[in-house]
Symmetry: D3
Subunit: 253 residues, 6 copies
């Protein structure tokens, strides 16, 4: 029986979802039954932290659905790991993010990695690195000028530019490994690896492989690190503070 | 002309907002014209990271309103600094969080501080400390068993319990300063300071004072650290990827 | 065509190799053609750093053989990652260690992990954690009193003792995830996970899964981080310093 | 009743004190009764660590006077925080330094700050950053070639040069916030903020604002971190070691 | 020709100096011509940071004399390294401190050390460890209740108490090496080493040996890290700011 | 009675050993009876980590001999500290490495040091710095293009090149102290110190001086950090797992 994984593309754009479909299935491999879904509500693209915030409720919804359907795990298909912590708190099945997965895999093959991301994702990426305590293994974080939209449209100039920036990270910043810091870049990883001669991490591939590994090993996020959220309605009944009207409004948006 | 600050209580419960009103105005002082608002949509209480996510869009809305009304600054009145980064990216007026403010003030008066928070806020608090790179100055993070609701209802047992846990942090973990890790505890700071004989940081007071200081000094968050978010509609027109239907849906939820 | 991996049990004891065989094949899964080999020369068991040193030449030999035979990757089946760096420098196919793999996977599911190892492996484990810069994510390193030999003989008392020590790491040291710090403990991971209610990382499983992921993604260790060793014979000819006699002796021991 | 703060200019030069007077009062604001005093003995200017040492006894004297007069707090008006720790140990009223205050405020508005100081203050500044454990938030420490004297004499070239160096810190070192690393530069902060478009921290303003905040919140330095010094005369009587002659000599120099 | 070292006992108490004399000469060994001097002005004993400040000018004076006399190096005989940085800036001959020397030697023989000091020296010791960036190698800092005076008077109970505290540091804090955190404890190092079975570092011995090593190797403190202080009188003439009267007062106190 | 130290040149090349002889004796000084030995088996030169591995058994053999002969200490004469940890575990007399010694001495005279090594030693050197937790004090690690062989043959161009690279480390990376990262460079330290005007650490000199200091102070590596290895033959008898045949094979290769 194959492993069943849902890949959540955390935006509402069908074009971005479609652009991922073939690559994600190929990367996941024949033993994984993978579907890719967009959000019902959220941003058009997810790069800035305000878009991560806008995507939050829609991601949680998709994670809850996946768990209710009995799937084995959920992959949040975006490098900045939007809503990863609350998703892991809400769910018991493993939830994995592309940023976390890519950085772990980079530390599996090198000493110092550089992240090549899009400009809008820089601040969220810097904070994420610090929140994971991976700073000592990061050589630099650099950005290309494209938006995630453009990454899907004109592959060759995009790849050339990423390779050029990555080369600078290697020569000037001392990187020995490159992490592509946007899942819209995932498809380019193999080509750039060959061109640069250092491992270039595909963040979607890294996240999917690590999620598959967790499922096969029978482990999920620690409930001591990611405890289930409190039952507010029960608490309200006990302490009585908010009004009933508020309780109604407070149902998950 | 007084400084005008909006204090955003990031939940929908009027009782929680009302419980803050008098203390916040007293702490802000006579030179500050402070109002306290709840969210129009969001969680009943904000402790867990999933509630921070639910509160996100409502907080951004309140921050945007404050800027549009010409206010001088916004204070997000919750220790886990929900939506602080995206709010700072969206706004040009200074936005301050209670957690950031309290930890900075703790480092102004001591070497090692312990955070006393509520159990639901533990995971978010731990991640926040790492994201700010303050680990070396943290002695420990400990929790009381109460929820934020209970903190408002029965002050005496709550204060006794916080003081007891704080005393353990001092004796067993080496803390020389205590940070109250929930703005619902703010009112207790002065009494506990006297009881314990070490500085006990009121997170709402700390955040409001730091925000006032920024406004008086004429500085705001760095737009290099918190850049304004991208204009997606313009990008869409240029690259054309999502359909018009999606663009409509993509207006801020 | 299945992935072909060689699992190197870095000691000369057939009993230890045999104890691993079934578990490793089960963990590797049907898509991996896995064989497990001992060393031709080396220590009886590998726990202390002097045994890691004794095992070094024998490990390098096994890695070179695997590469010459066209295998896809090599797994060094010992938590202290003996000879991992020189093996990676010598080979172009990916080489993975159990310690590195287990710690990466622990950081994929929790915030703070504790390592439960055998007493003889404590010093090497502590140094390894520092060499990987993972200290901030480690809650503690604790040891059981057994040697690796004993781990294979009497599973129940061993498991009881590991679970007891792990429980202490969770309660006293704040661990939310447990890493079994000896591959001889691997088989116990699933049972202890169930008993403790937190993820317990099987180091052999973690290493094998990460190695498989690298192979499937088409990446190997970075040659900028793990450069191929110098060609001494060529250097000798150029500079002429050592005598011919020395050159003869200098062939790999 | 206004807050009463003494600003200690830790040198003996009236010209340096006078140059601070107007700016400090303006920054402190109408609610603060601020006076600025020089030292009775000490260095002509305080930049190098040997000058910090020479200023030490004179600073302690000024802090003790302020406490005896019933003032609410003392601000040591120099970026390298000379005698800050012993002053805090000696006094019970809050004592604040410009360096500590400026760095805390920089972390309130940005991710990475660069310090622009004078050449003589570089070594002390580097050590101070490490002693506060703020390294991970520092992008760089750079110096202008001027001495503190020159900073007071020719504002325009000084400001141009500081802005130029700061611009390099932003572009080459990744700073998003600038800290002026000498209180003689304080007056220039607002102009340079406008010129560079990133927050530029006035260290005197930052320190005074944080001190005011502490006073208004009713907290002071932790006596667990800054314990009162021992009573040597009492100890001498008990143990009898030094002679009476020594006791006489031992009165504070 | 023997190496000539001056040992500066940074207080004015002849009894404390005399208590050091025999031990320091024995430790320095036959190849070193060592004299021990007290200060002409300063504190009776140096434990608290305010006493370090009081000792500053007297230490600088002793260092300058030693250099003027053509000595080879100066050892500041106190664990908290009082005036070490300004002394190194003022002098070109090597100046060494007991705290720096002891911690370096501890890292030469173990992984994690604990410092056993006197209560008054705790805050200065904690700050010193951070300023040197040695935190990751420190297991704990603990204090005995004695003052430095008492350490000289009743060796047996003092030694018993130090050994007891050190034993706790080993068992409870994971220390594998003990650093005696007060040079008044130096004489006890060998006995306690034997009693505890772990290396116990004599801070005076460590500092003297490292200083001797520097002299024998022909190196001194880096003038890039410890630049010579500025010539204020020359600067004054150029910029003219302070009055002549101030210049007179400004001669080294 | 002089101190008796064995200097282990961890390769089989007599030329390399001879090149060290005079310098090591001169550095060790008249009070030390020093002999220098090569290995009986091992690499021709030790730069890459695979050569460290090849040298391991031969180093352990030399350390054991020295202890059996009653010597006072052993110095492993190579910057990457090959087999230092297992040698320290195996022996009770102090064993010192050149890399550890040089970095400790660099931290005794400066704030930030750069290591100038040979290209083949870069990866091992980087890992070593992390394993010792000295990263915060390292400005950079740079390499010259020579192999250790060439360092012995043509002193002038080698010295010129090292000085040039060191100068860049000072100017571009902010180093205030230079560590020569290969003991084959040791002889050049004094000349380069004079040329550059900053301390240049001779790693052999540093290690020998620190070892001598330990011996004179009567301390050795902590057996809590470097415990004696387990007695495998005894364990085998108790648990019975390996066969007698394996026991025979298990004698140190």
């Amino acid at each position: 029986m194959p492993i069943r994984i849902r890949d959540v593309s955390p935006n509402i754009s069908p074009a971005l979802r479609e652009g991922k479909l073939a690559h994600r299935r190929e990367v996941a491999g024949p033993g994984v039954d993978l579907d890719v879904v967009s959000l019902r509500r959220g941003p058009i693209s997810l790069e800035a932290t305000i878009e991560a915030l806008q995507a939050g409720p829609g991601i949680i919804e998709r994670v809850a659905e996946a768990e209710a359907e009995g799937l084995d795990g959920v992959f949040i298909d975006c490098f900045v790991d939007p809503a990863l912590r609350p998703s892991r708190e809400a769910a018991n099945i493993p939830v994995m993010g592309a940023g976390l997965g890519a950085m772990l895999l980079a530390m599996a093959v090198g000493d110092k990695f550089s992240i090549i991301t899009v400009k809008n994702a820089l601040p969220g990426t810097r904070e994420m690195v610090r929140a994971y305590c991976f700073q000592e293994r990061v050589a630099s974080i650099r950005a290309v000028e494209f938006s995630a939209f453009e990454l899907y449209r004109n592959e060759r100039p995009v790849m050339d530019r990423i390779a050029e920036i990555a080369q600078r990270a290697i020569e000037e910043d001392g990187a020995d490994t490159i992490v592509l810091g946007c899942t819209a870049m995932s498809k380019l990883a193999r080509s750039i690896t060959q061109r640069l001669g250092v491992p270039v991490i595909d963040p979607a591939g890294a996240g999917l492989k690590l999620l598959t590994a967790l499922i096969e090993l029978g482990i999920s996020q620690s409930k001591r690190a990611y405890p289930n959220p409190p039952d507010r309605l029960a608490q309200m009944k006990e302490t009585g503070l908010p009004t009933a009207e508020e309780a109604r409004q407070a149902e998950p948006a």
